[in-house]
């Protein structure tokens, strides 16, 4: 197998970054330390120094691919750009990874294992499966609401519906259409998996709640906004 073909089999890590100047550098470094050579970061129109930090990282790590949205379009749009880039580069496995340092690069191996073995096409990380994460009570309530909402609208009962840590096979990445630009994309991905009968499973992962990550998390108001948008979109179909 050629070097290029070997690299292609290695997972592509796709990260959407919006105003993450404080964390994105260390996220890229931690991924590099774990030996991941295909990292795609999409700067989603950040107004801080995120792009500058990424450009500095790209000088240090030649494997880093940096794309930049001219204006902020949302995590869903940025992930779709990153996934499209990864597919164009020949990715066979794509991992979506958060830019705020909540995800543990050491857990990528266990996340992609079922996809590598061909057992499923999608693996969804779940912070509730093994209770390793120290989830704030309020956040837990909001997430449980999201699980209920997804159960009602997609008919699928999952343990964690808004976890950005997920692995997709090339086939699944091509099948799943992300039309929602902002945070609603997480629900849309699950909707697509159910509609298109894409084989998937959940795997326990750790979400690290630092003060920084808590600051950047979703508010209740945002969660209600997401739910309303999803309902309106269903009406418009």
């Amino acid at each position: 197998m050629s070097v290029y073909a070997q690299r292609r089999m290695k997972p592509f890590i796709v990260i959407a970054a919006y105003n993450e100047e404080k964390s994105i550098g260390s996220v890229v470094e931690r991924l590099a330390k774990e030996g991941y050579e295909n990292v795609v970061v999409v700067n989603d129109g950040s107004s801080d120094e995120t792009l500058r930090v990424l450009e500095q990282c790209a000088e240090k790590y030649s494997f880093l691919r940096v794309l930049s949205h001219l204006i902020n379009r949302g995590q869903g749009a940025a992930l779709k750009t990153g996934i499209d880039c990864a597919l164009e580069q020949g990715a066979e496995i794509i991992v979506t990874f958060d830019a705020d340092g909540q995800h543990n690069p050491k857990e990528i191996k266990q996340l992609i294992a079922p996809v590598e073995k061909g057992v499923v096409d999608v693996v969804l990380g779940s912070r509730f499966l093994e209770k390793k994460s120290n989830i704030p009570l309020f956040k837990r309530a909001v997430l449980k609401g999201g699980i209920l909402f997804t159960w009602i609208f997609s008919g699928k009962k999952l343990t964690d519906t808004h976890n950005g840590f997920r692995a997709l096979s090339r086939k699944a990445a091509q099948q799943i259409q992300i039309r929602q630009d902002r945070m609603e994309h997480a629900s849309e991905i699950i909707d697509e998996i159910c509609k298109k009968n894409i084989p998937f499973k959940e795997v326990p992962v750790t979400i690290m709640y630092s003060d920084y990550a808590r600051q950047k998390g979703q508010s209740v108001f945002n969660s209600v906004k997401i739910a309303t948008k999803l309902i309106l979109r269903r009406m418009m179909r």
Binding site: R65, L67, S68, G74, A77, T81, D84, D181
Partner: protein
Amino acid sequence: MLDLLSIAILFFVLFAWSRVVLRFKEGGIGFKEFFVWTLIWAVVVLLILFRDRLGFLTKFTTLQRPLDVVLAGSIILLFYLLFRIYVKIDSMDQSVTKIVRELALEKKRKK
């Protein structure tokens, strides 16, 4: 005989319609939009001029006054138009995202 308020509304309608005609002449709106807005303002004029003959409207509803029927109908129409505007804005939003994403990918391909 028309009261002062009805005359004022008629003048406003005439002014509003003149803006529609101007926009159509400038090419700012197409014939379809010109026709629809002319129809809307024509209906307003008819409602004002023949308001005494609108009693039949209350026969189909539980509302007492013809004006209430007109108001209720207008609110429903406004909600529908709001929904159409939401759909249009959402569609434009998606188009903007498509352009932004494609520009980012194209810049990457050229590197």
